[in-house]
């Protein structure tokens, strides 16, 4: 006998106990050469019994995935019809052909989706690992997790998936080891000659999404617990935001990316040296959110799409990049305006020399005297000192860059050089009419050009293809000076939702009296500008849905004002309650959105949480009227975040560019057999209703999305009162945009008591026309094991 493996406690690779016995006499007999290795000893303090699926492997939740995928079937839109992943190819998979490996088009598309989601989840996991390692190095493994007063269930996703109740940073390492393990298997399944079935690829997509949510939760609860972020605070501070809040007279540091330690290093250095307030710390993307959570004097410039325009404004003296979603040629942009560049992540070295071990003053001198365009520093504290010293030394020398970089006259002169080749228009992701704008600008009318500003996503591809070498992006941004004057308020990310808040609103959400929880998440790849996100969230906040936000979408929400000059964060409270507008924080804070849904099942409905994924997901799908909206979703991370929500039973809507994820998960309201569920009270299989109708939906316009959001908030468990409220919003919104009652409203009326009183006559008339029949409101479940009584 070589080795025992004791599965239930074998959670991680670190060896806590290793016993080697040459010979042991036992009641069973004599054992020779016995080796016992116990990976980790868990001190069992979790009073809740372990559920059916602790640390599930790929196969363990497959039946749940198939239950979902049978109802929400994939519609594949091959973005590429060829496969070039191995040397058999290229293989043409179109029109029913198979590749040399045997894969068909559907499987190839789902394989690419899985690859994208593996990239996304690996990125969050890597981020979480770096954060946990950084915090352990600074504060030790045994530092307790503390999400704030009123948060008893500190890590709902970790508890639900792994069965671990994490108490310290050390416990989070265990969780990440499990995620690592699963990610390796998931990625391996995309190799040539492995998985061959589209639905099994899809099941793995859902599994990787769940891993992604674990990693995000680990990352955010670690940084909240240790770094002094707001702890579930509905009154987290309002952060100055926008381009206009930067004090040009001071040295300016720009931080961009997602991983906060280097930004925290800058803030620490400023505080320790009495310089806070004398140097501007400004951020973009999620690092801005987290730096503002770390210190509210950080200024949030804007979302990822503003990276280039901000550097071109000349304001930042120093550009500090960490990881994820950073435009990879920012160093070139920084060079053009004599700003210095500091890269800080092993994942993003930019070809720079590693100066981590060099004396600070030497590095600063090299940067300020332009001996090097940029440096690579892996030590967050040293990044802080170098960035601040370099910014202070550089700012007086860079004053000429801090004025408007391109004048009105220069824009007109440039426009006259346009040769009208249309390359810019045909390259612009939003197909903006740049050529027409250039024509008008050449005649002195800059209005069309400045009108493009709102819809420009800052990709700068137009400049790369311009045959006349025009600085098109800069011309659009500075055709007007509105941009430079913009100031907003964004509420700092509050982190988790309190258990006490869940107790207060769990009932109204599950019964439908709070008509829905809508999360605006993700990137800023908007097809028609960010105003869509603002208008959608305002619409539903006014209707007293609960609005959650994270990442770039959370910034976009704060970038528009009402007639009184107030942003949504100033108009609506930050509490998880009807009519609240809640910024949970950065990308990794999305975990708290999933966590809130899970907590409703656990805290309000008392469903067992520990390692009980299927039951909780079944509860969320059938009872929690939550919808995610990633209107500008761009990244692979956005894909993996969405897939984690799908497995949990939360539908996701994306904007038009989201169609490039090449696969929708759509229900068929016309197929009654797809909507048969168990009535847990009786065990009967009954036709329920198409709710929620879709799991992954792409909308063309914000109006379509608004109507679909209201519809997807309906759940089979809604009480008649709750359903009447939800139907009144659905019908009212549909009427507002399409001037009629929704043609499918009869599908969602179960009994006459569901009908909103103010629309009774017209809905009754429609029901009559559709030959509607009353239905029983079931106690809905898709899991036979949850049936309480069988008949």
């Amino acid at each position: 006998m070589k080795c025992f493996s004791i599965k239930k406690v074998s959670l991680v690779s670190k060896k806590d106990l290793y016993i080697k016995l040459k010979e042991a006499t036992t009641t069973l007999g004599v054992l020779r050469d016995v080796e016992i290795s116990i990976d980790r000893i868990i001190y069992e303090e979790f009073e809740e019994p372990i559920g059916p699926t602790p640390m599930p492997s790929i196969k363990d939740l497959r039946s749940w995935d198939y239950t979902l995928l049978k109802r929400y079937r994939p519609f594949y839109m091959p973005f590429c019809e060829l496969c070039c992943l191995c040397t058999f190819g290229k293989c043409d998979l179109s029109m029913g052909k198979r590749g040399a490996c045997g894969l068909d088009m559907a499987a190839q598309q789902s394989r690419i989706v899985l690859l994208a989601c593996c990239i996304g989840a690996a990125t969050h996991t890597s981020h979480a690992k770096h954060l946990v390692e950084y915090l352990i190095e600074r504060y030790g493994r045994d530092i307790p997790l503390d999400l704030g007063e009123g948060v008893g269930v500190e890590a709902p996703i970790v508890r639900l998936v792994t069965g671990i109740k994490p108490r310290t940073l050390r416990d989070l390492e265990d969780v990440l080891s499990y995620v690592d393990n699963q990610l390796i298997h998931l990625l391996a399944s995309t190799h040539t000659g492995q998985e061959g079935d589209a639905l099994d690829f899809e099941s793995k997509v859902l599994h990787v999404g769940m891993m992604d949510h674990l990693a995000m939760e680990v990352a955010d609860i670690a940084q909240i617990s240790v770094m002094g972020f707001p702890k579930s605070d509905p009154d987290a501070p309002l952060i100055d935001s926008g381009f206009g809040i930067v004090d040009k007279s001071k040295p300016v540091i720009m931080v961009v990316g997602h991983n906060v330690p280097s930004a925290a290093g800058i803030i620490d250095y400023l505080i320790e040296n009495g310089l806070l307030g004398q140097v501007e710390v400004t951020g973009l993307c999620c690092t801005a959110h987290d730096a503002a959570r770390y210190n509210p004097r950080t200024k949030i410039i804007g979302p990822i799409s503003w990276q280039v325009r901000y550097i071109r404004s000349g304001l930042p003296d120093v550009v500090v990049v960490d990881e994820q979603c950073i435009k990879t040629n920012l160093i070139d942009e920084a060079r053009k305006v004599d700003a210095v560049f500091i890269a800080t992540s092993e994942k993003n070295c930019q070809g720079l020399r590693d100066r981590t071990e060099d004396p600070v003053d030497e590095v600063v001198k090299d940067l300020v005297e332009r001996r090097e365009d940029g440096v690579l520093i892996f030590d967050a504290e040293k990044v802080g000192e170098v960035a601040v010293k370099a910014a202070i030394a550089l700012a007086p020398k860079r004053r000429q860059y801090k004025e408007k970089p391109i004048s009105r006259e220069a824009i007109i002169e440039y426009a006259k050089r346009c040769i009208k080749c249309m390359e810019c228009v045909r390259t612009c992701p939003n197909n903006l009419p740049i050529m027409d704008a250039m024509g008008a600008a050449a005649k002195g009318d800059l209005s069309i050009l400045s009108g493009l500003y709102e819809q420009c996503i800052g990709c700068v591809k137009c400049e790369g293809v311009c045959r006349a070498k025009l600085p098109i992006h800069s011309m659009i941004v500075w055709a007007d000076d509105v941009f430079e004057k913009e100031t907003f308020k964004v509420r700092a990310g509050r982190g988790a939702i309190k258990d006490t808040e869940i107790r207060a609103v769990g009932g109204p959400i599950v019964f439908g009296e709070i008509p829905g929880v809508i999360a605006f998440v993700g990137c800023s790849n908007y097809a028609y500008g960010g105003r869509d996100v603002y208008e959608m969230s305002e619409e539903f906040a006014k209707r007293r849905y609960i609005i959650l936000a994270s990442g770039c979408a959370a910034m976009t929400l704060g970038m528009y004002k009402d007639e009184e000059g107030k942003t949504l964060y100033e108009r609506f409270p930050g509490s998880f309650d009807a009519g609240g507008v809640v910024n949970v924080g950065s990308c990794v804070s999305n975990a708290h959105i999933a966590g809130a849904a899970i907590k409703i099942a656990n805290i309000f409905a008392r469903r067992p949480l520990r390692a009980n994924y299927e039951e909780i997901a079944d509860y969320v799908l059938n009872r929690v009227g939550a919808v995610g909206v990633a209107w500008g979703a761009m990244s692979q991370k956005a894909a993996s975040i969405a897939s984690g929500f799908w497995r949990l039973g939360v539908p996701v809507i994306v904007g038009p560019h989201g169609s490039k994820y090449r696969r929708a998960l759509l229900g068929r309201s016309d197929r009654e057999e797809d909507w048969v569920i168990y009535n847990a009270r009786t065990g009967e299989k009954v036709y329920c209703e198409p709710a929620p109708e879709h799991l992954f939906y792409m909308a063309e316009t914000k109006e379509e999305a608004i109507v679909m959001i209201a519809k997807l908030c309906m759940r089979p468990n809604d009480t008649t009162k709750g359903r009447a409220i939800k139907l009144s919003h659905y019908a009212d919104l549909y009427k507002k945009f399409y001037n009629a009652l929704p043609e499918d409203i009869h599908l969602f009326v179960r009994t006459p008591a569901d009908i909103p009183i103010t629309m009774k006559d017209e809905i009754l008339a429609l029901l009559k026309e559709k030959d509607w029949k009353e239905k029983t409101i079931p106690d809905p479940t898709l899991l036979p094991r949850l049936i309480r009584r069988r008949e």
Partner: protein
């Protein structure tokens, strides 16, 4: 050459590309022989051209060939006021149903033989068409947008707005004749 390239430069298609409809006569013939036709409209159909709105042309086409219109665009109310055969449904959802051989169409009268696309963002149409091309091969697809859509069975070439309006006007006249 550029007139028969995908309008968006990077949207390089697969090995089978749409046949270009050079003349309105051919479009009219394809539609007349198209069997049961579903017209899928995006929000772009609200565009006003120099003589009429795009919507007017499309409703005329649909009426002439007894087609059903599917749209989730803001033009739905206007379309519905002129045409009974119109359903509010997202283009993606319709495309999802089409490959199902048992689906009887939005009016329950049978499967569609031809689908016409107009007014969606270029890349959305590009993607929906590639879905149909690969998973609903019995359905012929026609793009009436003014940009070449390589994943359709038949597509107009890239053209300017004036040329497009002339084309649509001629198409409507041919269908009504």
């Amino acid at each position: 050459m550029w007139r028969s390239e995908p309008w968006m430069k990077a949207e390089v298609p697969g090995t089978r590309r749409a046949t270009i409809i050079e003349k309105p006569e051919l479009a009219a013939e394809l539609l007349k022989q198209g069997g049961r036709i579903l017209v899928v409209c995006g929000n772009g159909v609200s565009t006003v051209l120099s003589k009429r709105s795009l919507l007017d042309y499309i409703v005329d086409v649909a009426e002439a060939v007894d087609a059903h219109i599917a749209t989730s665009s803001m033009a739905y109310a206007k379309i519905k006021s002129r045409l009974t055969n119109a359903t509010w449904i997202s283009p993606m959802e319709v495309a999802h149903r089409v490959p199902d051989p048992e689906w009887m169409g939005l009016d329950g009268k049978g499967a569609y033989k031809t689908m016409v696309f107009i007014g969606l963002p270029y890349y959305m149409t590009w993607l929906i068409l590639t879905g149909l091309k690969n998973f609903a091969q019995s359905v012929k697809t026609i793009s009436l947008d003014r940009f070449y859509q390589p994943n359709a069975s038949w597509s107009l070439r890239n053209m300017n707005i004036g040329e497009w309006e002339q084309f649509l006007e001629a198409l409507v006249n041919k269908l009504k004749a």
